[in-house]
Structures are given as structure tokens and as C-alpha cells.
Symmetry: C2
Subunit: 243 residues, 2 copies
């Protein structure tokens, strides 16, 4: 294939538009950068096209397009370092035989959202449910923070009230994190099917969801009583990981 | 005091220069923004001057200076939201009777550095030692990520090889986090004096420090084996918190 050198090329403009959430939603496509993420996306079978500004493409893949450094720079969210970009397809995977589920209520920071997904995969969680108010999953910062974990776990955007009800009907014990009227983590024993609700960085879990949950849980602290939500999620997922 | 309205005012230019690490190092001063951080800094007694773009200053403090919105916008790292800025003094506090110590070897991301300090305070750690290669402590992003915890714990920039040796001489058990040749966390029992070394986001803990430590420790994972360093630190600090 011929190398694309013009930043105004029609294809380039289409790919560039994927940096906007609106276009990602319309097309069902998104961009990822760098060798590690592309390797993970290839394993998951979601890559459509690989663009490269190197001599040769390091991946043996059907649809690869050489582009100039100037085109790469236009498309990249981290222009100084990018030499590989892949156009990927958004796919909804569904959990099969889930035992550990993470529920995210309005996580606003893309770094926190991505880190929580990464941690969920490391502790073998089976699915992540996000409210509509969560940061966009296909935003560059979210994807980078997942370190590719995004491709290895079903992440579903859903109405969380319905989700909690459906999980409870399937026999899940649902715990919401909260500081008030909550039980210290060590008092809640692990059981077969568990779901954990984490909330917005400023407001925490919404009242309706706390009420819908089976219990409210808190991480035992001394003094300052302030944890980043991704850190809190890590502590909980480690504690209740499948053995 | 008369309201400062010009962005070119000499004082304004001096405060503005504190957004550069070089000037912060030279003057021993730094800026913080927002009511919550200023409250924490006041408790710690490190505030020199409070600048406000509101009608009245919400703090009863000796040295307050009214400034125009335009001056506030120039000084702020988050111009859309700022209406309060404090000029603070960098102070080195020293740990007294330490039992839990965090050692940070080249943490590059200011968000990770700040989050680790915040978590250390929440789990009653007594001190944080940072290598020279760590992100700047007085950078806006680091301070925001600490949520004010920075003012409640000694954070010392030191040569870590010397620090590990000194801690061991004081009877500390020093554990480095590492994936290879390491022991799962559950096999290392808590003892009276413990220090934990966390490493750079990409490279981990430097070989020299791993060798200097008493043991290498790893967090038990299934599968993906990838944790953000602030999440890993949170899990370890929770696990070994003082009871």
C-alpha cells in the first residue's frame, strides 16, 4: 500500500475524527497507540487497521498502512512518541459464569476508570459495569491507563439500578462502598458471587444504589480517611479476589 | 490591603514564577489552590500569604491579599475554577518513633506520587522517603493528588541506599516489591517496624535496592499481573497497616 503523507488526506481526516467521542460513538471505532496496546488488541481480535510511521510494520497483519511522521503526529494523542496506531472496533463482550463483578457509579477521571479496569483483570474479576456518567471508555487516557486490560474483560455501560437488581436475582451479594453506616471490610466474609459498587470521586456512590445494595462496606483506616477510588477498588478487589 | 489588579504587578510576577520548579527550589515556597488544601495547610502552619479573588477572604489569617480575577487566572494551574491561592513554605518534618515507612524509587507520575502520600497518611504510615528521581513534590498535580495529606506526614527526598541501610540499623524489616524471586505477601508476617519499597512505573525498583532489602514481596494476582504502582502501594499499606 502506498504511504500516506498528507495530513489532509480523506482517510487521515476520518481517523483524526475518532479523537472525538461523538465520532467514536457513531462509527463504533477507536484509536490506540503503541506496540503494547496493539499486541493486546490483536490478541483480542478487535484491530481493523494498523498505521505505522516506521520502516516496516512490526505486526504481521492483513490491513496495514504506512503513513508519514507528520500524519502520525496529527493522529496521535502523544505526538512526541507515537509511531504505531491501530484503528479498533468497539465490541461488547458478555460475562459467562461471573463470580466477581465491579460496578462503577460515575467515575469521572479517565485515569481512575482505566486503572480500575486494569486491576479488575489482574484479580480475575469477570465483568465491569459502568454508569452512563462514567468517563468514556475509548478516550486515550482511559485506554492507556488500562494497559490493554480493556481487551480482556467485558466492560458494559448500563443502568446500574437494573444491574444491581439483576445480579441479586442471580444470587450475587452486592456491597456498596460508603463511609456512613457501613461495616468494616473484615466483617464481610467472601462468598461465591460478589459485586462491589465504587462511586464518583467527589460524591461517592449514589444514595439509591447504596440502598439497593445488600450491605455498605468500608475500608478500615486510621485518621485521614481519604482514599483515591482506584486505590480503594484495588484493596477491595485484592481482598475478595477468587482464590 | 489594596486589591492587586495588574497581571504585571511585581508581586504577581514573583508568585507566578513559583509555578516553575527551579524558582520553588530557590525560594522554598510553593502555591496551592482551593479551600480544602488551604485549610489543611493552615492546620499545618505552613501558609505565608493567602490570595483571594472573592468578595472577602474566607480565612481569618494575618496576611491576605485581594486580587482581581485576571490575576487569579494568571496564577492558577486550573484557571476556570480558582478563587483562592495560598503561598506556602516548604518544610521538612522528621519522623518520630516510626513503625511504618514508605520508600519511593523513581515514581515519575505526579498523580501516583500524590496518591501514594495520601494513602500513606490514611493508613497511619509515619514517613515517606523519595529518591531524587521521583516527581516534584510541590508540583500542582502532586499536591492535588495528596488531597492535603502532604501536610500531615514527613516526606523526605533522600539517597535511598543510605535510607535502607539506616532503617535496617534501626531494626526495620525492609521489603521491596518485585515480580521475580519474590515471596507472596501473605507469607510475610507483619512485624513492629516495616518499610516497603515501590518502584518506577516502567522499570520497578532498582536492582541495587532490591538487593539491599531484606526480602522481595509480590502481591498475589491471577493472570494479567499488572497493577498501577499507587494501587499496589494501597494494597500493601492496607495489609500492613498499624492495628
Amino acid at each position: 500500500m502506498e504511504r500516506i503523507v498528507s495530513r489532509e488526506n480523506k482517510k487521515v481526516r476520518e481517523w483524526y475524527s475518532l479523537r472525538l467521542k461523538k465520532r467514536r460513538d457513531e462509527t463504533g471505532l477507536f484509536l490506540i497507540e503503541g506496540r503494547h496496546l496493539i499486541e493486546e488488541a490483536l490478541k483480542a481480535g478487535v484491530v481493523q487497521t494498523i498505521l505505522y510511521a516506521e520502516e516496516t510494520c512490526p505486526f504481521d497483519f492483513a490491513d496495514t498502512v504506512p503513513v508519514s511522521e507528520s500524519v502520525m503526529e496529527k493522529l496521535s494523542a502523544n505526538p512526541s512518541s507515537a509511531s504505531l496506531i491501530a484503528v479498533c472496533r468497539q465490541t461488547e463482550k458478555y460475562p459467562v459464569h461471573a463470580e466477581r463483578v465491579l460496578i462503577l457509579d460515575g467515575i469521572q477521571d479517565p485515569g481512575n476508570l482505566g486503572t480500575l479496569i486494569r486491576t479488575a483483570v489482574s484479580f480475575s474479576f469477570d465483568a465491569v459495569y459502568c454508569s452512563e456518567a462514567c468517563a468514556d471508555l475509548y478516550n486515550d487516557k482511559t485506554i492507556r491507563s488500562t494497559q490493554g486490560a480493556l481487551f480482556h474483560i467485558p466492560v458494559l455501560r448500563r443502568n446500574l439500578e437494573d444491574t444491581v437488581e439483576a445480579l441479586q436475582a442471580e444470587g450475587f451479594f452486592v456491597a456498596a462502598t460508603a463511609l456512613d453506616s457501613s461495616v468494616p471490610m473484615k466483617e464481610i466474609e467472601a462468598c461465591e458471587k460478589m459485586a462491589f459498587i465504587l462511586g464518583n470521586e467527589g460524591q461517592g456512590v449514589r444514595r439509591e444504589l447504596i440502598e439497593a445494595a445488600d450491605r455498605s462496606l468500608r475500608i478500615e483506616m486510621n485518621g485521614f480517611e481519604s482514599l483515591n477510588v482506584a486505590v480503594a477498588g484495588g484493596i477491595i478487589m485484592y481482598h475478595y479476589r477468587k482464590q
